[in-house]
C-alpha cells in the first residue's frame, strides 16, 4: 500500500513506553459513579431514572434527545442517589447535569443478548447502535449511529479505521489492539455491513509493533477484507483529515466532512465497542483509560467504568503523594487541565496524565512574534498560524474566519514549534468561540426580528379585522333600524286606532284654530266671516267624524279583546294608563297655573279634565279592589305588605355592606334570603291586580 503524506507535523517525545509495560488492568468498581448526561457531541441525554431508583448494570438511564445524541447506561448495579450538577471533564471547569449512582457491589447485569446483525433491517441495526449509546471514542464523541447511517446521498467508498493514536503518552488504543485485536475486527465487520465500502483500511503508526503484530495475527485468522497500513510516526497523523490524506492522498475540502468525499473514519475503540454492543448486547459502559505521568508509581492502562472519578484511577496507578503538579485529561498536546480529581471518566476520556513540575513546567511567558514562519511549516492543515494569531490578537474575527480559522484542528503543533512560546492554540480557541458566540447572537437576532415582524403583522391584521367587524356591526344596526321603522309604519297603517287618534287630534287642533280665527274676525268685524264660518263647520264635521271613527275602533277593539283576556289582566293596562293620564293632567294644570298670562277658562277646563281622569283612575282602582275582595284578598293591605317587604330587603342589604364580622354577615345573608322569598311571594300575589 502506498502511503502518502501531509503537510507539516511534529515529532514530540512519545512517552508511550511507560504505560505499555503492564497489561490492561481492570479497575475495581468504585463506590459511587458520576455519569454526566453530556458525554458526546450534540444534545445532552435526558435522564429516564429518578433519585432512589434501583438500576442494574447496562440498564438505560438516559435517552438520546434529537438526532445527534447518545443514550447512557448504568455502568454497574446500584441506586441512583442524585441527579445534579457536578464537575465534568470540560475545559471550562464548570459543572453540568450528572446522574450519580451508588454501586451495590453486586455488579448485576440486566438481561441482555447478542443480535444477529446480518439478519435484521439496517434501520433496526442503526437504532440498536443508538440504543447502546455508542459514540466516537477517539476524542470528539460523535454519535456513531449518525456516522453509520448516512443515507442515500453519501456513497462510501473507503472505510478507514483510525489506529494511529499519534498523541504522546496515550496508549489506550495500542493496548486495546494488543489484547482485543479480534474483537476490533468483529466490530469492523459490523461497520462494513452497514456502510458497504469498497475497501477498508486500518491506519496505524509504526511505533506500535506489538499492536501491528496482534492485528496481523487476528487478520490471518478471519476472512475479513481489510488492509493494514503502517504509517510513519508523526504528530498529528491520527487527526481524521490527516489520516485520510496519509492513506488516500485526498484532502477533505474546507467546510466539508469526510463522508462528502466518500470516506468514513472510525476509531478502533469504537469498533470494539460496536462489537460488544451488537455481538454481546453490552452497551458502552466501560473503556480503556491510560493513566500515566511521572507522578504515578505504576503507569498503565485500566478497563474503567464510565463515571469512575479520576481520583480512583490515580490511586489505582499509585499516585505519589505530593508529586502531582498538573492533572491533564487527554494528551499533552490537545488535552485540558483538570481542576479537581473528582471529575469522572466519560466515553471520550482516553488518558490521564499526572505530571510533575519538571515534566510539565509552567509555560514560559510569551514573547513577541518574530515572524519566523515555523508555525506555518508545522501546520498540518496548511493554514497561516501567524496571520491568524495577528487577527486573533487584534480581534479581527471576520478576517480570521476568511483565513480559514475553522479548518484549524487545534492540534497544537504551531505552539509546540513557536520559539516565542506564544500560546497560539489558545488564541485560536478564543477566536473560534467568539465567532461562534457572535454567529449564535446573529441567529438569535434574526429569529427575534422574525418574531417581532410576525407579531407586528398579527397586531395590524387584528386591528383591521376589528375595524371591519365594527363597520359590519354598524351597517347591521342601521339595517335593523330601517327595518324596524318600516315595520312600525306598516303597523300603524294596520292599526287604525293610533292613526285615527292622530287624525282626531289634528282635526281638533285645526278646529280650535279656525274657531279662534272666526272669533277674531267676528270681533273685529272683518270680511270673509262667512267663509271662515263654513270652514269651521266643515272642520267641526271632520273632527266629529274622526272622533266617531276613533270611538268605533276602540269599542270594536274592546269588544274583540274582552272575551280573550281575563278581567284583572285587562284592568292592568287600563289602570296604568289612567294613572299616567292623571299625572299628565296634573302637570298640565300646574303649568297653566304657573303661566304668566292665566287663561282662566283653560285652567278650568284642565281642572275638570284632571278630575275626570283621577275619577276614572279611582274607579278602576276601586274595581280592582272589589275584584280582589271577591277573591278574598285585601288589595290595600297586600300593597302595604309588599312595600314593607321591599324596605326590609334594602335594610338587610345595607346592614350586610356595613358589617365586618363574617359570621354576622352570614346570618344577615340568610335573613336576606328569607326576606327576598317573602317579597317574591307577596309580589306574585299582587301581580294580577296591578
Amino acid at each position: 500500500m502506498k502511503v502518502f503524506s501531509f503537510h507539516g507535523g511534529i515529532h514530540p517525545p512519545e512517552n508511550k513506553k511507560q504505560s505499555t509495560r503492564a497489561s490492561v488492568r481492570t479497575m475495581p468498581i468504585p463506590k459511587s459513579l458520576v455519569i454526566p448526561t453530556q458525554q458526546h457531541l450534540g444534545l445532552a441525554a435526558d435522564p429516564v431514572v429518578s433519585v432512589g431508583d434501583k438500576v442494574l448494570k447496562g440498564q438505560i438511564i438516559a435517552e438520546p434527545v434529537g438526532r445527534i445524541s447518545a443514550s447512557l447506561h448504568a455502568p454497574t448495579s446500584g441506586t441512583v442517589t442524585a441527579i445534579e450538577a457536578q464537575p465534568v471533564p470540560h475545559a471550562s471547569g464548570l459543572t453540568a447535569e450528572c446522574i450519580v449512582i451508588e454501586s451495590d457491589g453486586l455488579d448485576q447485569w440486566i438481561e441482555h443478548q447478542a443480535i444477529d446483525y446480518k439478519g435484521i433491517e439496517r434501520s433496526a441495526l442503526v437504532n440498536q447502535i443508538r440504543q447502546m449509546g455508542i459514540a466516537g471514542m477517539g476524542g470528539a464523541g460523535f454519535p456513531t449511529d449518525v456516522k453509520l447511517n448516512l443515507g442515500s446521498d453519501h456513497i462510501v467508498t473507503t472505510l478507514i479505521i483510525n489506529a494511529a493514536e499519534c498523541e504522546p503518552y496515550i496508549t489506550a488504543d495500542d493496548m486495546l489492539m494488543r489484547e482485543h485485536a479480534s474483537e476490533i475486527l468483529e466490530g469492523i465487520k459490523i461497520i462494513q455491513h452497514l456502510l458497504e465500502p469498497t475497501h477498508t483500511l486500518i491506519g496505524i503508526e509504526d511505533n506500535k509493533p506489538n499492536a501491528i503484530r496482534a492485528l496481523n495475527e487476528a487478520l490471518a485468522e478471519t476472512d475479513i477484507d481489510v488492509d493494514l497500513v503502517v504509517v510513519p510516526t508523526k504528530y498529528p497523523s491520527g487527526g481524521e483529515r490527516q489520516l485520510i490524506q496519509l492513506l488516500t492522498g485526498v484532502e477533505v475540502p474546507s467546510g466539508k466532512i469526510p463522508a462528502d468525499i466518500g470516506i468514513v473514519v472510525q476509531n478502533v475503540g469504537t469498533a470494539q465497542a460496536l462489537h460488544r454492543a451488537i455481538n454481546h448486547g453490552e452497551p458502552l459502559i466501560q473503556r480503556i483509560v491510560t493513566v500515566t505521568g511521572e507522578a504515578v508509581e505504576h503507569p498503565g492502562n485500566f478497563w474503567t467504568l464510565i463515571g469512575t472519578p479520576f481520583s480512583e484511577l490515580l490511586s489505582a496507578a499509585d499516585l505519589k503523594p505530593g508529586a502531582m503538579h498538573r492533572l491533564v485529561m487527554g494528551g499533552p498536546m490537545m488535552g485540558v487541565a483538570a481542576e479537581t480529581d473528582s471529575i469522572p471518566v466519560i466515553k471520550t476520556t482516553n488518558c490521564l496524565i499526572a505530571a510533575t513540575d519538571s515534566e510539565m513546567p509552567e509555560a514560559p511567558a510569551a514573547q513577541p512574534c518574530i515572524r519566523c514562519g515555523m508555525c506555518e511549516q508545522a501546520c498540518p492543515a496548511q493554514l497561516l498560524p501567524q496571520q491568524l494569531y495577528w487577527f486573533a490578537k487584534g480581534k479581527e474575527f471576520e478576517k480570521a474566519k476568511n483565513h480559514n480559522l475553522f479548518d484549524c484542528i487545534e492540534c497544537g503543533a504551531c505552539a509546540y514549534v513557536c520559539p516565542s512560546s506564544i500560546p497560539l492554540v489558545q488564541f485560536y480557541r478564543f477566536t473560534k468561540s467568539e465567532i461562534r458566540a457572535e454567529e449564535l447572537e446573529q441567529r438569535k437576532a434574526d429569529h427575534a426580528r422574525e418574531r417581532f415582524e410576525a407579531r407586528q403583522a398579527r397586531l395590524e391584521r387584528e386591528a383591521i379585522e376589528k375595524a371591519e367587524r365594527r363597520k359590519a356591526r354598524a351597517a347591521e344596526a342601521a339595517k335593523a333600524q330601517a327595518e324596524r321603522k318600516k315595520q312600525s309604519s306598516s303597523e300603524t297603517a294596520q292599526d287604525d286606532t293610533a292613526a285615527l287618534k292622530t287624525a282626531a287630534a289634528v282635526a281638533r287642533t285645526k278646529l280650535k284654530k279656525a274657531e279662534i280665527a272666526l272669533k277674531n274676525a267676528q270681533d273685529k268685524g272683518l270680511d270673509g266671516v262667512e267663509t271662515l264660518q263654513a270652514t269651521v263647520d266643515k272642520l267641526k264635521q271632520a273632527a266629529t267624524e274622526a272622533e266617531q271613527a276613533l270611538q268605533n275602533s276602540s269599542t270594536t277593539e274592546a269588544v274583540q279583546s274582552t272575551p280573550t283576556k281575563s278581567e284583572p289582566k285587562e284592568a292592568k293596562p287600563d289602570l296604568k294608563a289612567l294613572k299616567q293620564q292623571v299625572s299628565i293632567m296634573r302637570t298640565k294644570l300646574k303649568k297653566a297655573e304657573a303661566a304668566e298670562e292665566k287663561d282662566e277658562s283653560e285652567i278650568e277646563a284642565l281642572k275638570s279634565r284632571l278630575e275626570e281622569a283621577s275619577k276614572a283612575h279611582t274607579d278602576a282602582d276601586n274595581a280592582l279592589i272589589e275584584l280582589a275582595q271577591s277573591a278574598g284578598i285585601d288589595l290595600k293591605q297586600l300593597r302595604i305588605d309588599v312595600a314593607m317587604a321591599k324596605v326590609a330587603i334594602t335594610k338587610i342589604e345595607r346592614a350586610i355592606s356595613k358589617s365586618d364580622d363574617e359570621t354576622e354577615q352570614e346570618a344577615l345573608k340568610t335573613d336576606l334570603e328569607s326576606a327576598k322569598s317573602h317579597f317574591a311571594q307577596l309580589e306574585s300575589q299582587l301581580k294580577p291586580y296591578e
Binding site: Q426, R429, L440, D446, R451
Partner: protein, 197 residues
C-alpha cells in the same frame, strides 16, 4: 459650418439614445425599499427594547439611515457601534449613556407563584416570548426572550426578574489569552514617577 452642425446632430442623437437607455434602466432595475436600512437593521441586536427612543430596531435603523447618531443602542454595545461605523464609513463613537449602559445579557424570569395572570406582560412582549392566559400563570419561553426589559414595567405585582444568563458548558467561551505588552526590554521596567507622593 456643416461639420459643426453634423457634430451637434451626432451629439444630440447620442444624447437621445443614452437618455432612452438610462430611462429604461431606471424603470427596469428600480431598487425596491432602502437597502441600507436592511443592512443597518441586520446589525442591530433586535431586542426591540426601545432604549434608543424608537419603537423597535427597524425604526432606529431607518433613523440611522436618515442621519441619526449610531451610539444609542445599549444592548448592542460597542460591538454594534463599531460594526455600524464600519458599514456607514463613519468614526466609531462610545455608547451614549443617556440611552443606557452596556450590560450582561439578561433574560426575564417570572416568579410563577406570584403571577396573578393579568396578561399585561404578554401584551408588552415584542417577540411573543411570554406564554399564558387571563387568570392563568404566565411563563417566559427562555429561548425566545431577548432580554428587552419591556415586561418588567407593566407587571402589577412586580413578579418579573431580569436575571443574567448563566454560563454553562454549552455557552462557555474560551478566555482571551493574556496579552503580551512587553515588546521591548525596557517595557518591563517600572515607570519613572516624577513626583512620588
Amino acid at each position: 459650418m456643416s461639420s459643426v452642425a453634423l457634430a451637434i446632430l451626432v451629439l444630440a442623437i447620442l444624447a437621445l439614445i443614452f437618455g432612452v437607455i438610462l430611462g429604461f434602466a431606471a424603470v427596469r432595475f428600480k431598487v425596491e425599499g432602502d437597502p441600507i436600512v436592511d443592512q443597518i437593521d441586520a446589525l442591530l441586536p433586535q431586542t426591540q427594547c426601545g432604549q434608543c427612543g424608537h419603537p423597535g430596531c427597524r425604526p432606529y435603523a431607518e433613523g440611522i439611515a436618515a442621519g441619526e447618531a449610531i451610539n444609542k443602542c445599549p444592548p448592542g454595545g460597542q460591538t454594534t457601534i463599531d460594526q455600524l461605523a464600519e458599514l456607514l464609513n463613519v468614526d466609531s463613537i462610545p455608547l451614549d449613556s443617556e440611552h443606557g449602559v452596556e450590560d450582561v445579557r439578561k433574560i426575564a424570569y417570572i416568579r410563577e407563584d406570584e403571577c396573578i395572570g393579568c396578561t399585561k406582560c404578554i401584551q408588552a412582549c415584542p417577540v411573543d416570548a411570554i406564554l399564558g392566559a387571563a387568570k392563568q400563570m404566565h411563563t417566559v419561553i427562555v429561548d425566545e426572550c431577548t432580554g428587552c426589559d419591556l415586561c418588567v414595567e407593566p407587571c402589577p405585582v412586580d413578579c418579573i426578574d431580569m436575571l443574567p444568563v448563566a454560563t454553562t458548558t454549552l455557552n462557555w467561551k474560551w478566555p482571551e489569552p493574556p496579552q503580551t505588552n512587553n515588546l521591548i526590554a525596557t517595557d518591563r521596567q517600572p515607570r519613572f514617577e516624577e513626583n512620588p507622593s
